[in-house]
């Protein structure tokens, strides 16, 4: 497990830790965007890890120096250098288990009704068969929400992630009206959270603690990426539906399998949701062919009322 702290990532972290050292400054201007960590955070753990410098040298650094805090509000506007985060969702394996949502809500301390991942029972037309469609924020490359924000509280980073700065958001909800995918939710009342969480330092990268009168949404977990860990939705899915990774590295993983992104989307005929809108999402869907489950399995554990609602939405009459 620990070996997942891999060289490439550690090289990036070295940039964060070493900042101005001679090894790193060699021709990588993006790194300078990341500030040096507070010396207080850099606890010596005694555990050494190897890092790859841009010119291919391996150096050993104490692990405590490279583990980072979630970025502050201004720092979070910079993307993780050289990254382009993408997600691939395999619709053939989804059975509406909703473990991804539970994991997400637990990780971000969300109340039960606040859903950053939504589930739809899709049926494109009457002749077609219904399929389950989990939808996080699609992190568009041409995001309609970012365009309309009057104060730049929501922004697109170089690593492709669209984040919200809840300390800057004025709560005009224009981004919610502009998002064609209904990805955004609003904190209509004071978020009910335990005091410990409320006292925690806010970061747009963790999206916690949430703030009343501002907009929230799926944040693609950049704080986890910094740690080299996968978002909760990926790790909590029992069926490995969610693949997450860096397009620049040409690799995505669902926790158990790591595959080449380009191969996966080419061989499985991936598509992006509502491509015709020109929003250029960062989330790719693999069509629900050769399914692992019948769509009816997805009704398990749902209330009669909800099943009826899904059936209406998907136009299922039986």
């Amino acid at each position: 497990m620990e070996r997942r702290l891999t060289n490439r990532r550690n090289f990036l972290k070295l940039g964060i830790a070493a900042g101005t050292t001679a090894i790193i400054t060699g021709g990588n201007s993006v790194l300078s965007a990341i500030s040096e960590p507070d010396s207080k955070d850099g606890k010596e753990t005694g555990e050494k890890i190897k890092l790859l410098t841009p010119d291919g040298k391996l150096v050993e650094v104490d692990k405590g120096h490279v583990c980072c805090q979630p970025a502050g509000n201004l720092e979070a506007r910079q993307g993780l250098p050289d990254k382009r985060m993408v997600m691939v969702i395999d619709l053939a394996k989804c059975r509406n288990a909703r473990k991804c949502l539970q994991g997400c809500q637990k990780m971000h301390f969300l109340p039960p009704h606040m859903e950053w991942i939504k589930f739809y029972l899709m049926r494109d037309s009457a002749d077609m068969s219904p399929y389950w469609f989990p939808k996080p924020c699609l992190h568009c490359n041409n995001p309609p929400c970012v365009k309309v924000c009057p104060v730049g509280a929501t922004f697109k980073r170089t690593d492709g992630i669209v984040l919200i700065d809840n300390d800057r958001c004025i709560g005009c909800k224009f981004c919610m009206a502009a998002c064609p995918y209904s990805s955004r939710v609003f904190n209509w009342e004071e978020p009910k959270m335990d005091k410990k969480m409320n006292a925690a330092a806010y970061s747009p990268e963790t999206s916690t603690p949430p703030k009343i009168g501002t907009v929230s949404k799926c944040d693609f977990c950049p704080d986890m990426v910094r740690k080299g860990e996968l978002p909760a939705c990926v790790t909590s899915c029992p069926n490995g539906v969610f693949y997450y990774g860096d397009k620049n590295e040409d690799a995505v993983t669902n926790g158990t399998d790591t595959v080449r992104f380009s191969d996966l989307i080419a061989t499985r005929a991936a598509y992006r949701f509502m491509e015709e809108l020109g929003t250029e999402p960062s989330v790719y869907y693999l069509p629900a062919v050769d399914r692992a489950f019948d769509y009816k399995v997805g009704f398990e554990g749902l209330s009669e009322e909800e099943i009826a609602l899904y059936k209406t939405e998907a136009n299922i009459t039986e």
Binding site: L58, D82, R168, I170, N187, G213, T258
Partner: protein, 739 residues
């Protein structure tokens, strides 16, 4: 100055309005203040409890507030367009209604934006609009446009007031003496000299030219807030002109209503005549017809094109159980009834035209509701929510209270304003007909009426609605009992030069094995019958405790080259104890890169300890090759080692860093003899990563596209240059008055 009979008569007729406030007037003010007070209470609730007290939810994010915002900005057109155009065209009958129109503009442009503030979740962060404003956002366009428009309207209204202020300065009001210095100050020493007259006329003309395109732009910007989104029902190219026409239509309607009210209240029958109602009525129905035409064009286009989402919105509008009735009212009744009333001579009189205006204004309010709500209720993905308030919008008492508070404020400001300056310009430009004979008769009638009315008293009734909030129920969390089964796993890792042991502790919780953090694990080396402890370590949040294997243990040669280790967990709290063992043999691997006939290759050599502790090549061993990626290792190939060596083609298509450096990891995994052994090497044979392109200017970026910046600067400086010129002219008028 202004010694002519007409002006003096006007002054005589209007000054009582300024000097006295009737009981009815006081009652009205009290009532309006009560309505506003209730609105303030609603606002207080909204600020304390959050926007949860409104009917707005995640899908319908904008409700009555935005409807009212568009409505008030819409009626502000009355002043800008009606008075501006009538003034420029020198329409002779405009004088009595022009001030009302301008007042509508100023007051509604002040109230409108207040509604957008009500809709904002964090009022405390409004300064962010200036600190971090992005001119790519239509909201910033709106902020700039409305503030510019409001400034222009105030200047315009003021210019038109200067003559009357001068008259009031020369004929001081008797009761409220504190007002006289204000009149004197605001009259800027205007003495109606030829030069002053000329300056005033020029600046009024100039401003009415500026205010017309500005007004069109303001409402276009408002429409673009909706038009710029990809929403069905909003994303329409005709939205801007459609909003402009609808706005002038409703503005004219409100002007007619205001005329009717003041005509009754202040008995202006001799000033505001049937002619005014007829002419304005005709203007109104022409605008109404245009509004009908735009509506038809809009819905015909989306129905004919029949895009799925457009059809969903149309279906809602045409569905009798949803919005059909409102739609009929807003689109058919709101257009046809005013047209019939005004065009058929039999129906046409002052009251019926005012009624038609009422219908038009109401219909236009409903139309704004139909623009906002059904579209927001129809997102591109269905609203999957069991909570009805998230599916259908219905305004709460808070929103209604604030809506009525806004209307009350509108009336109040209008009323107070009419107490400060005559609602009809006292000084006439001499372009209109002589109503003096009629005026005398009416004045006598008025006096009789006033005496009669004073005998009556008024009763003010207010009502309060109380809502109860439901408390949330506490959750009960069940606790488990009995010893919890635990599993310990011990693995040997040999990574490059470091050798260590990893003990993973898991406990069966809810049928799943979950990592146990914070537990003490002991570890030891078993060599024959001797045991060498390696110490104890605490598991981390993944349930892993790591133990380094000291070099002297490896140097000892082990048990015929094999080494045995044991990890134990002695149990804690409810968790059961666990034990794990592993045995392994050292393996040495070496990775090298070479080129053969132009092909890039990786070579891997593997050795194990022989009988005499020397390194001998491994016979058969499967090795996996990986490339480290952010979260995990990407498998790029595998090879079987025979006679201590294996080769693999280097995966050159895998992206490396910017210089193409790529690390390759060779791994022996969970081998019965060797445990986990890995070795890595780095070379610049990967695909070089192209440098990140950082786009600085664009719709979605921090800085706006340059053309946008230039357009804004040019437009704003054009408008503000004129404002400045006009303000400068006012100072010149003041200066000229000294002599």
């Amino acid at each position: 100055m202004y010694e002519d009979e007409k002006t003096q008569q006007n002054l005589y007729a209007f000054k009582p309005q300024l000097e006295k406030m009737s009981k009815k007037g006081v009652a009205l003010v009290v009532f309006l203040l009560l309505v506003m007070g209730f609105g303030m209470y609603a606002l207080y609730i909204q600020i304390v409890d959050g926007h949860i007290v409104t009917g707005m939810r995640d899908n319908v994010v904008w409700g009555l507030y935005i409807v009212n915002f568009i409505f008030f900005i819409g009626i502000s057109y009355a002043g800008a367009l009606i008075s501006g155009i009538l003034h420029l065209l020198r329409v002779p009958w405009r004088t009595p209604i022009i001030r009302m129109a301008e007042m509508i503009t100023v007051i509604s442009t002040m109230i409108g934006p207040a509604y957008i503030l009500l809709c904002i979740g964090r009022l405390d962060r409004l300064p962010n609009l200036i600190l971090f404003g992005r001119i790519q956002s239509p909201i910033i366009w709106d902020v700039i446009a409305i503030s510019t428009y409001l400034s222009g309207s105030i200047i315009f209204l003021y210019l038109a007031m200067i003559r009357d202020l001068a008259i009031l300065r020369d004929n001081p009001v008797k009761t409220a003496r504190w007002r006289n210095p204000i009149y004197r100050f605001m009259a800027v020493r205007y003495k109606d000299s030829t030069k002053q007259k000329e300056l005033l006329n020029v600046s009024t003309d100039l401003l009415s030219i500026v205010i017309i395109p500005l007004a069109i732009l303001v409402h276009s910007v408002l429409a673009w807030i909706f038009g710029m989104t990809l929403r069905p029902g909003w994303h329409s190219t005709i939205f801007a002109p459609y909003f402009v026409i609808a706005a002038v239509y409703s503005g004219t309607g409100v002007l007619i209503m205001v005329m009717w009210v003041f005509r009754k209240v202040y008995h202006l029958e001799s000033h505001i005549t049937k002619i005014h109602f007829n002419y304005l009525g005709i203007i109104m129905i022409v605008l109404g017809a245009m509004y009908g035409y735009f509506t038809f064009s809009e819905y015909l286009t989306s129905w004919y094109g029949s895009i799925k989402w457009d059809m969903e919105v149309l279906f809602r509008l045409f569905n009798p159980s949803e919005y059909w009735h409102l739609f009929v009212f807003a689109v058919f009744i709101g257009v046809l009834v005013p047209i019939i009333i005004v065009t058929v001579p039999k129906f046409r009189n002052i009251n019926s035209i005012a009624f038609a205006a009422c219908i038009a204004v109401l219909a236009l309010w409903v139309k704004r509701y139909l623009i906002i709500i059904p579209t927001l209720e129809t997102p591109m993905l269905p609203i999957h929510d069991l909570r009805p308030e998230y599916v259908h919008y219905s305004a709460t008492w808070v929103e209604w209270a604030l809506t009525f508070a806004g209307i009350a404020l509108f009336i109040l400001l209008f009323y107070l304003f009419s107490k400060f300056i005559p609602i009809i310009p006292v000084v006439r430009s001499g372009e209109e007909k002589d109503y003096s004979r009629l005026r005398k008769i009416v004045f006598e009638k008025q006096m009789k009426k006033v005496i009669r009315q004073r005998k009556k008293s008024d009763v003010v009734v207010t009502g309060i609605i109380i809502l109860l909030m439901i408390a949330s129920t506490p959750r009960v969390i069940a606790q488990e009992e009995g010893p919890v089964q635990t599993v310990l796993k011990l693995e040997y890792f040999h990574i490059d030069s470091v050798q260590n042991l990893k003990a993973t502790l898991r406990a069966k919780i809810d049928g799943r094995y979950m990592p146990l953090p914070g537990m003490e694990i002991g570890c030891k080396v078993l060599q024959g019958k001797t045991e060498t402890p390696l110490g104890t370590n605490t598991t981390n949040d993944k349930g892993i405790a790591t133990f380094a294997i000291p070099d002297e243990i490896i140097a000892s040669g082990g048990d015929k080259g094999f080494y045995s280790f044991e990890a134990s967990f002695s149990g804690k709290d409810n968790y059961d104890k666990a034990l794990a063992r592993t045995t392994m043999k050292p393996l040495r691997m070496e990775m090298s890169f070479f080129q053969k006939e132009g092909e890039k290759m990786v070579n891997l050599k593997a050795f194990e300890p022989g009988k005499n502790n020397e390194w001998i090549p491994v016979e058969n061993l499967d090795v996996q090759f990986y490339v480290p990626r952010t979260f995990s290792l990407l498998k790029v190939g595998q090879a079987a080692i025979t006679n201590g060596s294996a080769s693999l083609e280097f995966p050159t298509s895998i992206p490396g860093n910017q210089l193409g450096y790529l690390t390759l990891v060779a791994k022996v995994e969970e081998n019965d003899n060797y445990g986990n052994v890995e070795v890595s090497g780095t070379i610049n044979w990967g695909k070089p990563l192209p440098p990140t392109k950082i786009i600085k200017r664009g719709l979605g970026d921090t800085d706006a596209p340059l053309w946008m910046v230039y357009t804004l600067i040019v437009l704003l400086s054009l408008v503000w240059f004129h404002y400045m010129y006009v303000i400068f002219t006012v100072f010149r008028i003041r200066h000229l008055g000294k002599t």
